[in-house]
């Protein structure tokens, strides 16, 4: 591709302003998290760590955090397993009606989450099941699986088929080949998928809002607190910590994804980001 041209100045300026727009809320977060005032407004009054102390002393928050961690960890494992099966099948085997099947698995990407939440709620009510952490996990696995399929699809599609053939020719069984060749090669992709699913589930609100029983998840807890002005500075501090955690998880996932594309195809530039994989997966 021709990279000799430089971008026009106006376009670069636009890109920077746009980035500022994208990051505006997140940049405000630390300002208010460390601001020594109970009101979330400018001008700032001074530095404090007391909102973090408040978080440390709120036990309801700890229970919600624990629930969210369990849900996110379980969701990341389950959706990655479902993702491995679907992505591998789609990359390697002829499947009658493949386009329709894969397309259907990807539908939760574009469906409003309210619809996913209430339709699951209706089923649970009709079956007389009570709401629990598991009902939230059911919904979260559904919305995280498409992301796993997209990320793993990129990993499996770029894989050199000759390695696999060599293994089979040397007398390894299909299962042995999968375990000894394919899984190790796809390992960074698998980890990336788990991290992304974890991040999505940990942050997901709507489905959890409809499907939690008495055990609130962290976003559901935050939602309940946003109504009380006195609780807002604490929520800013919490949001700040959550942003830091998500950044760490996502940067790790991106690093793994790059490693995986280098491992598999020897080309780091292939693909461009996790989200690129997800976006290509949508089509």
């Amino acid at each position: 591709m021709d990279q000799s041209q430089r971008a026009p100045g106006g376009l670069i300026f636009y890109a920077l302003v746009y980035l500022l727009f994208l990051y505006a809320p997140i940049l405000l977060l630390p300002l208010f998290a460390f601001n020594d005032s109970a009101v979330i407004a400018l001008p700032l009054s001074g530095f404090t760590l007391r909102w973090f102390d408040v978080l440390w002393d709120t036990t309801a928050l700890h229970a919600a955090l624990y629930n969210s961690l369990i849900i996110a960890a379980t969701t990341s494992v389950l959706s990655t397993c479902l993702g491995i099966l679907a992505a591998r099948a789609a990359a390697r085997y002829p499947i009658p009606g493949k386009r329709g099947i894969v397309g259907f698995i990807m539908v939760p990407l574009v469906l409003p989450e309210v619809i996913v939440g209430i339709s699951l709620l209706v089923v649970l009510i009709q079956l007389g099941m009570s709401l629990s952490l598991w009902t939230v996990i059911m919904g979260h696995v559904l919305v995280c699986t498409p992301f796993s399929v997209a990320i793993l699809g990129a990993a499996f599609n770029n894989m050199d088929a000759s390695l696999e053939e060599a293994s089979m020719d040397l007398g390894e069984s299909a299962l042995g080949t999968f375990r000894r060749i394919i899984l190790p090669l796809a390992a960074p992709g698998i980890l990336a998928s788990m991290l992304v699913a974890f991040t999505i589930s940990f942050d997901e609100f709507i489905i959890a809002f409809f499907l939690t029983g008495t055990d609130a998840t962290l976003p559901v807890y935050i939602w309940s607190q946003l109504r009380f002005p006195a609780r807002l500075p604490g929520m800013m501090a919490l949001g700040f910590l959550m942003v830091l955690m998500s950044f760490a998880l996502l940067l790790t996932a991106e690093y793994l994804r790059r490693r995986s594309s280098r491992l598999i195809s020897g080309d780091e530039a292939e693909g461009a980001s996790l989200f690129f994989d997800a976006a290509s997966g949508m089509r």
């Binding site: 400018l42 339709s119 959550m242 461009a272």
Partner: protein, 297 residues
Amino acid sequence: MQAGRTVTRAVAVPMARDWRGLLLISPTLVYALTMLAAPLALLIIMSLWTQDVIEIRRTISLDNYRQVFTEPLYRVLMARSLLIAGVVTLVTVLLAYPIAYFVAFYGGKRRGMWLLLITIPFWTSYLVRIFLWKVILGYNGVLNSGLLGLGLIDQPLTFILYNANAVVITLAHAWAPFAILPLYVSLSRIDHSLLEAARDLGDGPVRRFLRITLPLSMPGLIAAVLIVFIPTVGDYVTPRLLGGTDGLMIANMIEVQFGKANNAPLGAALATSAMLIVASVALLFLWLNQRSLRRVG
């Protein structure tokens, strides 16, 4: 793309009866069928039931749908949801196009970094992010303080919180990467020799854009429009936090019916109608697009 690969594989592997792939994909497919298709089917069935005072009467009737399409409140909410989602889509895609263009054409080795920068904020603390727009747009908010401080305004702006404008701004922010990525994918696939050829043949930048770049990025543009429009019609959090009473949307009413109003069948009918309307708008959009492309082609 999936379709192309299927075709070549089918030719290369003449074993027509190969069930391994179907077997391998079946757990994921079965999960999607039981957790999505079945619940959606039940939702549609439930929309035909009616709510008595205490229990649900399971006789089929179109009563809920008559309410959905005749009562002014529901019609207003439905129309407003479509209008807001439409404006959000327009704004988001228009703002996103130059960024996608910039990264695809001038990103160079830093493309990965740009895409990462663009997408990372959107995976983090969704609720707090939406809430912060309230802090930015409020009467004593960051924007008003800033503009007052700079002396650009002498009264705080009030048209940007607790109404549809606030919802549009916040949603346009929240859905930005979903518009940028499909646009980027199709823009980065454009063969630059076509643009060079056009330049050599004397086309100016505007003509080159209109006759080559824009048509070739159409698949990404269409994907971006649908990916932003469909979910935003059903957004719940943003109208609830920033919409005031004039900015509430259909998802808020659906939630009320399942919760406080205790009329799940009516809620189901509202949800089903919303899905049907959105699906038909999306299909109409695709059809219009195909027609216009055929005329150009």
